[in-house]
């Protein structure tokens, strides 16, 4: 066993590190550093998307014929690590990482041709329409209904927690087309133009002060039937596939956590006029060590997953273990950051996005710590709550030898 890069991999790493350093505008880097919502702000991630697109590197994971780079798993891993290291934002989370893989797997040639190029170019920005007020972790309970009417579906219902729906051009929507049989049956997947008549959006403010998620109301929204993915009733298996892709790709968690740790260390270095108190300082350093160790181990788990050795020991639930641990470790780093900054972390500025506030970058980074902590509580709730992951891990344990 070893953790060495080959000469080719090293050269690749150097090449992309150099590229990112040269291509990433300071303004975007600074904005990303004070991003307090879960997803990167549209006005940070979109310009970076355009830069990557122009460099032909917007969609490393896609097949080459659709604009992918042809990089292997290790190269994609290095690409993501270098992103975090440089402080670059993650682009077009929904379109690139959820919608595109779904289209690639389930879409018709026409759908691929119609939608993929516009995702790649950044022309279309996507959101998801899965959760509902009564169906969060339990998707099978969804009730937003679509009725076939000629060549169209007519959709009525309410969706909740649509990240960046207020920026989106399209939504990947789950609807109920039949209430017969098990609740998992009768779910269908549609692609909806956000400008459709009858569709309206209510932004929801988070406790961190951000407008990131929305409630989306569909009132007799008409969706052409050729915007259905798969067949009627295929929605459940499409959603399951998509969520497993999401879980597996929720990384590069190690890189994200390292970037959180780097921010914490910056806070530590910047404390002004700190009366030296050797014991308090060293106590804090031991706590930081504890978190640094956790990050090392999350990264090791990710590398094991990348090398397909993790699931041997996790009964196939490796991605769940990483999701569970990385979300908790992130929250613990956030808590420690509060402690590192000390009393002044309670200062609050209501304006969002925070990078628009007229203040120095150091002050903005400090102002970001409390809302990052607050919004960060979502990590153990969304994308499969901790309780759901534990259930998956236990089932895998029971099924293993």
């Amino acid at each position: 066993m070893n953790l060495d890069l080959t000469a080719e991999e090293l050269a690749f790493r150097d090449r992309i590190r150099t590229f990112i350093e040269a291509a990433l505008p300071e303004q975007i880097r600074n904005g990303a550093a004070v991003n307090v919502a879960s997803a990167f702000e549209y006005d940070i991630s979109h310009p970076w998307h355009e830069i990557l697109r122009d460099a032909g590197m917007a969609a490393p994971g896609w097949p080459v014929e659709f604009g992918g780079t042809g990089w292997n798993d290790v190269e994609q891993y290095l690409w993501r690590m270098e992103h975090w290291r440089a402080g670059a934002p993650v682009i077009s989370q929904l379109g690139m990482r959820l919608v595109a893989p779904t289209l690639l797997h389930f879409g018709t040639p026409e759908q691929k041709a119609r939608f993929l190029p516009r995702i790649l170019s950044g022309e279309d920005y996507w959101c998801q329409g899965f959760s509902e007020p009564g169906a969060g972790s339990d998707l099978a309970a969804l009730s937003c209904a679509a009725v076939r009417d000629g060549d169209e579906y007519v959709v009525n219902g309410t969706k909740l927690w649509q990240t960046h729906a207020h920026f989106a051009d399209w939504m990947i929507l789950l609807v109920r087309t039949s209430s017969a049989g098990k609740p998992q049956q009768g779910i269908t997947c549609l692609l909806v133009d956000m400008r459709s008549p009858g569709l309206s959006i209510k932004p929801i403010r988070t406790i961190g002060g951000d407008i990131e998620v929305n409630e989306v109301f569909l009132d007799d929204v008409r969706v052409p039937a050729d915007q259905m993915i798969g067949a009627e009733g295929d929605g459940w298996s499409i959603a399951k596939h998509l969520l497993s892709v999401e879980r597996a790709s929720s990384g590069n968690a190690g890189g994200r956590l390292r970037s959180n740790m780097a921010s914490l260390m910056r806070m530590l270095d910047r404390r002004e006029n700190h009366v030296p108190d050797a014991f308090g300082e060293r106590t804090l350093m031991a706590k930081i060590a504890r978190r640094a160790i956790d990050v090392d181990i999350v990264e090791m788990l990710e590398l094991q997953l990348l090398q397909s050795t993790l699931d041997d020991h996790a009964g196939g639930a490796g991605a769940s273990v990483i999701k569970l641990r990385s979300s908790i470790v992130e929250q613990e780093i956030n808590e420690l950051s509060l402690e590192v900054v000390g009393p002044e972390v309670v200062r609050w500025n209501d304006h969002r996005p925070l990078h628009e506030v007229d203040a120095g970058q150091e002050e903005l980074e400090r102002l970001a710590i409390a809302p990052q902590y607050l919004n960060g509580r979502v990590r153990t709730i969304f994308g499969g709550a901790t309780e759901v992951q534990l259930g998956i891990i236990e089932k895998a344990l029971q099924a293993s030898l």
């Binding site: 339990d138 988070t206 609050w348 709730i381 969304f382």
Partner: protein
């Protein structure tokens, strides 16, 4: 030994919870916080009318002469609604410090507080000074018959509202000396006092002070006292005890909200509250709340007692209440799912208050260190129980 509320305290409790539940629901609080001053002065007037503002003020100063347990009763009620009006800075910190130090005419402020006509704030925090340190960089110097003061303070809660700000400043000695510090009363509008006000995470407001005041009258120095740090320590300990009561009031609310939400919300075909892990989580929250409440009551009982036993109880309470509050608020948010993370429900606002509570007036590590020092010095004897054993023991 008596751990029951007196009948007066029971009445006070009923009246406090009753009044606040009628005027201070979450939406009312949101409206108040969004307002210009971020407080509601008519509610403050009602506090005065109900006698709450007079509670800890001695009878000879036109107060009621209540003790720290009385105060904890009101604080618990205020915390259950996350009341933002400046009760802590005015009544506990401000009036508390004046009561400890002031003499003669200076004590007249106490009656103004009791009547609701004066708000106060304490501006003791300086940038980068750890909890419990005697370090005071702000300097006061004799100038003729009066004083001039120069320095800076941060995070003075409620200072933007205060008619009088209490400013500890060093009169003599080196920057870290235990003695040589006095507390000055600086009234709003005094030339050379500049306030920069800003919100803090839980919606209350604080201010940073830039101080360059000349010609402050001699009577501004409370009690003429140049050794005020012990009184400052004592009043901060009282404020910690009171803050603990405030937080504990919120924890009760959080647990009820979470219990009721999980009872009503179904997932995977049954109410969340019927999942065993949710049930045990609620029970863990309840255990921590009950412990936090015991710690808070012990702190209130010890507030006015001898220093070592006071510190033992106050630091214990800060540690226990912080731990309980963080756990309960996190779990309340978690069990509310996404809804707990929106401003539509009050849950997240309690979490925001817990965030500020943990960081202000010494964090968990600060208080563990303070307690550990007394253990190491043999001044806390782990074999000694809580019951006061009289002089002999």
């Amino acid at each position: 030994m008596d751990l029951k509320y007196s009948s007066e305290q029971d009445l006070l409790r009923d009246s406090a919870f009753g009044y606040l539940s009628s005027v201070y629901d979450y939406h009312a609080r949101c409206r108040i916080v969004a307002g210009k001053e971020a407080i509601d002065r008519s509610i403050w007037a009602k506090f005065a009318e109900l006698g709450w503002l007079a509670l800890p003020i001695p009878e000879e100063d036109e107060g009621i002469g209540g003790d720290a347990v009385d105060l904890s009763v009101v604080m618990e009620a205020l915390g259950s609604r996350l009341v933002v009006e400046p009760f802590l800075p005015t009544v506990v910190l401000g009036a508390g410090l004046i009561d400890l130090l002031a003499t003669g005419e200076q004590r007249a402020i106490l009656a103004e507080v009791a009547q609701g006509t004066a708000m106060l704030a304490l501006a003791h925090q300086e940038r980068g000074v750890p909890f419990g340190s005697p370090r005071v960089e702000t300097r006061a110097e004799r100038s003729g018959e009066g004083w001039s003061i120069r320095g800076a303070k941060i995070l003075a809660i409620g200072a933007g509202l205060a008619d009088h700000v209490l400013v500890p400043a060093r009169i003599s000695g080196a920057i870290d000396d235990a003695e040589g510090v006095g507390v000055f009363v600086v009234s709003r509008g005094t030339p050379g006092l500049e306030l920069t006000e800003y919100p803090i995470a839980d919606g209350r407001r604080a201010a940073d002070l830039s101080i360059d005041i000349a010609g402050l009258s001699d009577s501004a120095l409370l009690g003429g006292c140049e050794n005020a740090l012990p009184a400052l320590e004592q009043v901060i300990d009282k404020a910690i005890a009171a803050s603990c009561a405030y937080v504990v009031g919120g924890l009760d609310m959080l647990i009820r909200l979470t219990r009721d939400y999980t009872a009503g919300r179904s997932q995977f075909g049954k109410p969340l509250g019927r999942f065993q892990v949710v049930q045990h989580r609620l029970a863990e929250m309840q255990v921590k709340r009950i412990e936090a409440r015991a710690a808070m009551q012990l702190a209130a009982i010890r507030c006015d007692g001898p220093r070592i036993e006071r510190i033992r109880a106050i630091s214990a309470a800060k540690v226990k209440v912080s731990e309980a509050a963080r756990y309960i608020a996190h779990q309340a948010v978690q069990l509310h799912g996404g809804m707990g993370l929106t401003e539509e429900l009050s849950v997240g606002t309690y979490l925001k208050h817990v965030l500020t509570f943990e960081r202000l007036l010494g964090d968990t590590d600060d208080h563990l260190r303070r307690y550990a020092q007394l253990l190491a010095d043999g001044r806390i004897d782990v074999r000694r129980g809580l019951v006061n054993e009289g002089a002999e023991a």
